[in-house]
């Protein structure tokens, strides 16, 4: 039934005449609707279900039943009830309006102007936004400072070519790399793979010509030339950055094998099998007269088809 809003103190009329007035209104806390009215009649308070109400008027309600039937309804047990102000039933006061009128308070004269209110509201929003604004740029730069740090183009000695005994065989070079990490001076164990390539393998590696390496501005830092038979591969698999190994494969013979997702590369770094998106990354390499190998520890973004240098 659509919510009925009988007012307290309304007169109650039955089919055959007035019987009394509404003393209380009872609401159902679950449906948030009026369930009963309490009619004060003949010195008693009767709990009358709301279905009995035929019409609700400004100051009276009309019931469908007779006066004698009202007397048959149960008496109110006040101790079984609380007022709505004594409990917190959400939204009850929104849905049920049964008081006789509202409590009034004076409206300040200055607040009557809508233009004033709107102007100052707008002004507050403007100034509020503008207080934060000067900080936006400095804070962004502050947070982003280390995010696009310039590349480390230092030459690092990783070992000697005398360690390489056979052609076209991957030899791991483990070395310590020291670097500044914010204010700390740290050292990390790193590894790369060097092969002494045969001319056929070299041809495969240099099929697109000499390999050049750039810095952030696009200026060349180094160029690897095909005349140098030594090739260094970065020790991180271009798939997702795991460390790979040189292993003997059942079918493919001696290959670079990554244990994480089983990418397989030949001695030229070409992808033979597995999810690797591109061949092994070649590093800038310098071999001194005494056979000392130096490389630049270039790092590329894993998982991408093209080489995107990140460090």
């Amino acid at each position: 039934m659509a919510s009925v809003q009988p007012k307290i103190k309304s007169k109650v009329r039955c089919v055959d005449g007035e019987v009394g007035e509404i003393a209380h209104v009872i609401a159902d806390p679950i449906s948030l609707e009026v369930s009963h009215i309490v009619v004060r009649t003949n010195g008693t308070q009767r709990q009358v279900p709301v279905s009995t109400i035929a019409t609700v008027r400004e100051d009276s309600v009309e019931l469908r039943c007779n006066a004698s039937q009202v007397a048959d309804y149960p008496e109110l047990k006040r101790e079984d009830f609380l007022t709505s102000k004594e409990v917190e039933i959400p939204h009850l006061e929104n849905k049920v309006h049964v008081e006789p009128g509202d409590l009034l308070v004076p409206f300040p004269q200055l607040e009557k102007s809508c233009a004033r209110r709107n102007f100052f509201t707008g002004f507050i929003h403007v100034i509020g936004a503008l207080i934060g604004l000067p900080l936006v740029w400095p804070v962004l730069r502050f947070i982003m400072k280390p995010m696009y740090a310039p590349y480390d183009n230092r030459w690092i000695k990783i070992g000697n070519v005398s360690k390489i005994k056979t052609d076209d065989v991957g030899v791991q070079f483990i070395f310590k790399k020291s670097f500044t990490d914010s204010v700390l001076l740290r050292e990390e164990d790193k590894n790369h793979w060097v092969i002494k390539a045969t001319p056929e393998t070299l041809k495969k590696i240099y099929q697109h010509g000499d390999i050049s390496f750039m810095d952030e501005k696009g200026d060349a830092v180094w160029v690897n030339k095909q005349t140098v038979p030594y090739v260094a591969f970065a020790g991180k698999c271009p798939h997702l950055g795991c460390g790979f190994k040189w292993r003997t494969h059942k079918k493919r013979g001696q290959v670079f094998l990554c244990p994480c997702h089983l990418s397989i590369y030949d001695s030229a770094g070409k992808v033979l099998d597995g999810p690797a998106p591109r061949p092994l990354d070649v590093l800038p390499i310098k071999v001194s007269a005494t056979g000392e190998i130096e490389i630049i520890d270039v790092e590329y973004k894993a998982g991408k088809k093209e080489q995107v240098r990140i460090a």
Binding site: H91, I127, P138, V139, F142, K145, S182, V183
Partner: protein, 361 residues
């Protein structure tokens, strides 16, 4: 755009009764109208938020270890883009907070807004005052330069002299018998976690109690005058609050540019040429302890513990001692005089401490 906003508003209103909430929060009529004198509480909230924001940013690069605290602070100043500005804003913001706390307490005191029924607001406010001072004290150590290290060491040593609990308190703060890594770790966690939590909780309570009691309003004016100027908290008082916040923001930024943070050398166990000194808002206490009358063990107890504690207790007891309902400061000569004496006293002692620097060699 406005139509969309209205739709969003109605959606939320249906569910949480936003209209009533808005009415309760915003449409609070202020007797005698919104006043610039009432802005200091909101300004304090603003400064706290700015300190939290800049503080969190500093934590992106600061390392709270005795080995790296100094280097990481220097890193922020010299290496990180605008790091010097963020750090200097944080530094001057803390001074601004102390100044505003004094301004806010003075305004409440002079307007008699601590009197019944606002006693609890005043007491919670005193606790907040203590928290602000603790913020300043704990934050000061973090750069770990000579100034930071020695100001803290001297300060904790003074606390050590408190009877009964002094030794325990000092060892708790130092994390041992002597200052070191434990001290830094404790001061760091107190500064970035414990105190912010305490401040937010107590500030919430402070605001709730304030709203329950309602603003005290002006201390003079006929009822006609008060009624004529009455307006709602929103928008006029909020507007005044926000203009004051903007002015404070500009002032702190300017100070950060005029005098950016420059560290001394890294902390070491020997003060060398450096003369230990606390932050400027503790200088008056620092100076008073130089007086002969506060020399010796009893004298130090008097000057460092007894008198400050007695003063704070007096402030706490104030709403219960001062029962007169009179709020007009010009009709409360004792109150006006005591306030003036305390403020001038603090000023004179602070300036004395600055002059005293020349006499230390």
């Amino acid at each position: 755009m406005m139509f969309l906003l209205q739709k969003v508003y109605d959606f939320v209103d249906e569910r949480i009764d936003l209209k009533t909430l808005e009415a309760k929060m915003m449409k609070e009529p202020i007797k005698g109208g919104s006043r610039w004198a009432y802005v200091f509480g909101s300004v304090l909230l603003f400064i706290f938020i700015m300190q939290a924001v800049t503080g969190v940013l500093l934590m992106f690069y600061y390392i709270p270890s005795a080995d790296h605290a100094y280097a990481s602070t220097q890193f922020i100043i010299h290496e990180v883009d605008y790091g010097w500005f963020i750090l200097s804003y944080h530094f001057w913001g803390s001074s601004a907070m102390v100044v505003m706390v004094f301004a806010h307490m003075s305004q409440v005191f002079l307007w008699g807004a601590y009197k019944s029924p606002r006693e609890m607001i005043w007491l919670v406010g005193l606790a907040l005052f203590g928290i602000v001072m603790a913020f300043g004290f704990t934050g000061y150590l973090l750069p770990w330069d000579q100034r930071a290290y020695w100001a803290t060491t001297v300060g904790v040593e003074i606390m050590d002299k408190t009877p009964v609990v002094g030794d325990f308190m000092a060892r708790f703060l130092k994390g041992g018998p002597t200052p070191g890594q434990m001290t830094l770790s404790r001061f760091f966690v107190i500064h970035v976690m414990v105190l912010p939590g305490a401040l937010m909780g107590l500030a919430g309570l402070h605001l709730f109690l304030f709203r329950s009691a309602g603003p005290a309003g002006p201390f003079r004016g006929t009822s006609e005058e008060l009624k004529a100027k009455t307006d709602f908290f929103f928008p006029r008082q909020v507007w005044k609050d926000i203009v004051a916040m903007a002015a404070v923001f500009l002032t702190i930024s300017s100070l950060a540019l005029i005098e950016p943070v420059v560290l001394l050398e890294e902390a070491k166990p020997d003060p060398g040429d450096y003369h230990p000194e606390p932050e400027w808002y503790f200088l008056f206490l620092f100076q008073i302890l130089r007086w002969k009358v506060f020399g010796g063990e009893f004298g130090q107890f008097l000057g460092a513990t007894a008198i400050p504690a007695a003063f704070m207790l007096l402030l706490a007891a104030l709403p219960f001692i001062d029962r007169s309902p009179e709020r007009n400061i010009f009709k409360r000569p004792i109150a006006l005089l005591s306030w003036a004496v305390v403020m001038i006293g603090i000023l004179v002692l602070t300036v004395s401490a600055i002059i005293n620097r020349e006499f230390l060699d």
